[in-house]
Amino acid sequence: MQKNSSLPSGVKTDYDRILRNAALRRRAAKAGVYTMLVIWGLIVLFPFYWMVLSSLKTQAAYDNEQTPVFFITNPAFENYVKVFSSSDIHLGRYILNTLIFTLGTTALMMAVIIPAAFAFARLEFKGKNLVFGLLLSLMMIPTELVVITNFQTITAWNMRDSFPGLILPSVTSVFYIYLLKENFAQIPDELYKAARVDGTSDFKYLMTVMIPISRPTIVTITILKVIECWNSFVWPRLITKEPDYFLISQGIQQIRESGLGRENIPGMMAAVVIVSLPLIVLFLIFRNQVMEGVSRGGTKG
C-alpha cells in the first residue's frame, strides 16, 4: 500500500486491478458456494414443507387439485382431529406403544450396559481381555443375520404381540458397551483406589462417581437409542400382527395401505407430521449432543 501513496491519487495501478479482480473472484466463488448450499437446503426442507402443507389442506381441496397448490391461506386442522378420532387406525395407541417401547428398551439397555462397561473398565478378572475381544468382534454381526432366530425364539416363548417380545431382542448393543467402557476408563484410577480405601462399595462408587462424571456420554447414548427405537420398523413389523401392539412406523404403513391414507392423503400427511415432530424437537433441543454422538458412533446408510 505504500507504493500507492507515492502516486497521484486517482491513478489505478496494476496492483490495484489485480487486487480488485481477486476480490471479485473470491466473491463470485462465495456466491457459488452459498447457492449450492441453499439449493441442497431446499431439497432437504422441501419434503417437510410439503408434508405440513398437505396436512393442512382439506381432503376435498386436495382431491380437486389437478396441479399441486404451493400455498394455502386457509389452513384446515380437521385432519389432525381426524387421525386421532378415526375408527380404523389408532394413532394415539401407536404413539403410546412407541413411547413404552422406546422408554422400556432404553432403560433396560442402560441397566445392562452400565454394569458391563464398569466391569470392563475397572474390575479385574480372569479372561477379561478375551471376553472383551470377543465382544468387539460381535460388533460386525449384522442384525439381519440374527433376526431369523430371534423371531423363532420369541415365537417359542409365546411373546409375539407383546411388549417383552418387542423390547428384549432390541436391548443389546455391543457398540454402546464399548463406547461407555472407553469413557469409564478415562476416569482416573486414583479416584477408585481412594474410594476403596474409604470402604466405598463398587456399586456405590459406580452410582455416585462414575455415572455422574460420564453423564455427557450417557446422555448421548440415550438420545441415539431413543432415535433408533422411535424409528425402528423391521423387528416390530415381524413380531406384531395385532394393531394393539403396532409401533408408529408400522402404524404409518398400515394407514397407507389399508387405513385412511388410501382415500385421505391430507389425513395421512397429518399422521406423518405428528410422528416426525417429536424427534425433530428432540434434535433441536439436543442438537450438539446428537451430532457429536452420531459422528462418534452412529450409522445410518
Binding site: G41, Q66, L123, F125, I141, V174, Q253, I280
Partner: protein, 296 residues
C-alpha cells in the same frame, strides 16, 4: 479375591445373557437353519442336511430381482452420495455465516422416520388419476411427459429409490466429512499459501489425503448400509415389494421368514448368509484397496 472375581462376572451377567441369547446363539443357529432342507415354520422338521436351500434361493427369480435391485442401488448411491457429501462439506467448511443453520438443516433427515418421510416422497413422485404429482409438474414445465414413478417403468422406480436413499444417507456423511475437514491442521494450509500453491493443488495434495481415512470409512459404511436397504423401499412402494419388482436382499430375507402361508426360516437363513458373504467380500476388497490408497 475369589469373591471379587465373582462380583465382576455378576456385573457382566445381564449383558452376557442378552448377547448370548439374542446375538451369539442366533448366529450359530442361522447357519444350522440354512442347511436344513425343507424346514418351515409349519412343519418344524427337515428332510435332510445339505446346500439345497442355497440352491433354491439362488434360482429364485424373486431373489435374483432383489439382488439386481440392491446391486444397482449400491452402485449408484454410494459413489453419488459420497461425492455429493464431499462437495457440500467443502462448501460448508469454506463459509462462516449461517454455517450452523445449514448444518442443522442438513442433519434433519437423520432424525426423521424413514417410513413416514418416505410417504411424502411417494406423494411428490406419485401419479394418480386425479393428479400427476409435483415432480411431474416440473417435468412438464421443462417439456417432458409425465412419468409414473411409483407404479411405472423400472428406471423411474429405481430413480426415486436412489434419490430417496441419497436424501436419507447424506446427513451422516456430511457430518463426518465436515468434522474431518475441521480437524485438518491449519498450519498445512498456511504453509501451502505461503508457497503460493494453487487451490486445486491444495485440495488434491493436502485436504484429500488428510481426510481420505474418513472418506474411506464412509465408503465402507455406505456399502454395508446400502446393501441392507429395505425400509426406504417399503416406504415408497409398500410392503409387497416383490409385486412392485423393487424388493431388496434384506426385504427378500424378511419376506421368506414371514410369508402368509407360513414362513421358511431355512430359506431366509440361506439368503441372509448369502447377503452376509457379499457384504463381507466387498468390505474386504475395500480394505485391500484402502491399504494402497489411504494415507493414515
Amino acid at each position: 479375591m475369589q469373591k471379587r472375581k465373582l462380583k465382576a462376572w455378576l456385573y457382566l451377567l445381564p449383558a452376557l445373557l442378552f448377547l448370548g441369547v439374542f446375538l451369539v446363539y442366533p448366529l450359530i443357529d442361522v447357519v444350522v437353519y440354512s442347511v436344513e432342507e425343507g424346514f418351515t415354520s409349519v412343519s418344524q422338521t427337515y428332510d435332510g442336511v445339505g446346500l439345497g436351500n442355497y440352491n433354491t434361493v439362488l434360482r429364485d427369480p424373486d431373489f435374483l430381482q432383489a439382488l439386481k435391485n440392491t446391486v444397482l442401488l449400491v452402485a449408484i448411491t454410494v459413489p453419488l452420495s459420497t461425492l455429493l457429501a464431499l462437495f457440500i462439506s467443502l462448501g460448508l467448511s469454506s463459509i462462516k455465516k449461517l454455517r450452523n443453520l445449514f448444518q442443522t438443516v442438513y442433519f434433519l433427515p437423520y432424525v426423521t422416520n424413514t417410513l413416514a418421510v418416505g410417504l411424502v416422497f411417494m406423494l411428490l413422485f406419485d401419479k394418480t388419476e386425479t393428479t400427476d404429482g409435483l415432480i411431474n409438474l416440473f417435468i412438464r414445465i421443462f417439456g417432458g411427459g409425465a412419468v409414473d414413478f411409483i407404479d411405472g417403468p423400472y428406471w423411474a422406480k429405481m430413480f426415486v429409490m436412489c434419490f430417496y436413499t441419497v436424501w436419507v444417507v447424506l446427513p451422516f456423511k456430511v457430518l463426518i466429512l465436515t468434522s474431518a475437514l475441521a480437524s485438518v491442521d491449519e498450519t498445512y494450509y498456511k504453509a501451502a499459501r505461503m508457497d503460493g500453491t494453487r487451490k486445486g493443488r491444495i485440495f488434491l495434495r493436502i485436504t484429500l489425503p488428510m481426510i481420505s481415512p474418513m472418506i474411506f470409512y464412509l465408503v465402507i459404511t455406505g456399502f454395508i448400509g446400502a446393501f441392507k436397504a429395505y425400509s426406504d423401499a417399503v416406504a415408497l412402494f409398500g410392503t409387497n415389494l416383490n409385486a412392485a419388482g423393487m424388493n431388496t436382499l434384506v426385504g427378500y430375507v424378511y419376506d421368506k421368514l414371514y410369508s402368509e402361508g407360513g414362513g421358511s426360516p431355512a430359506l431366509a437363513s440361506a439368503a441372509a448368509l448369502i447377503l452376509f458373504a457379499i457384504v463381507l467380500t466387498i468390505t474386504c476388497i475395500n480394505l485391500m484397496i484402502s491399504k494402497k490408497k489411504v494415507h493414515y
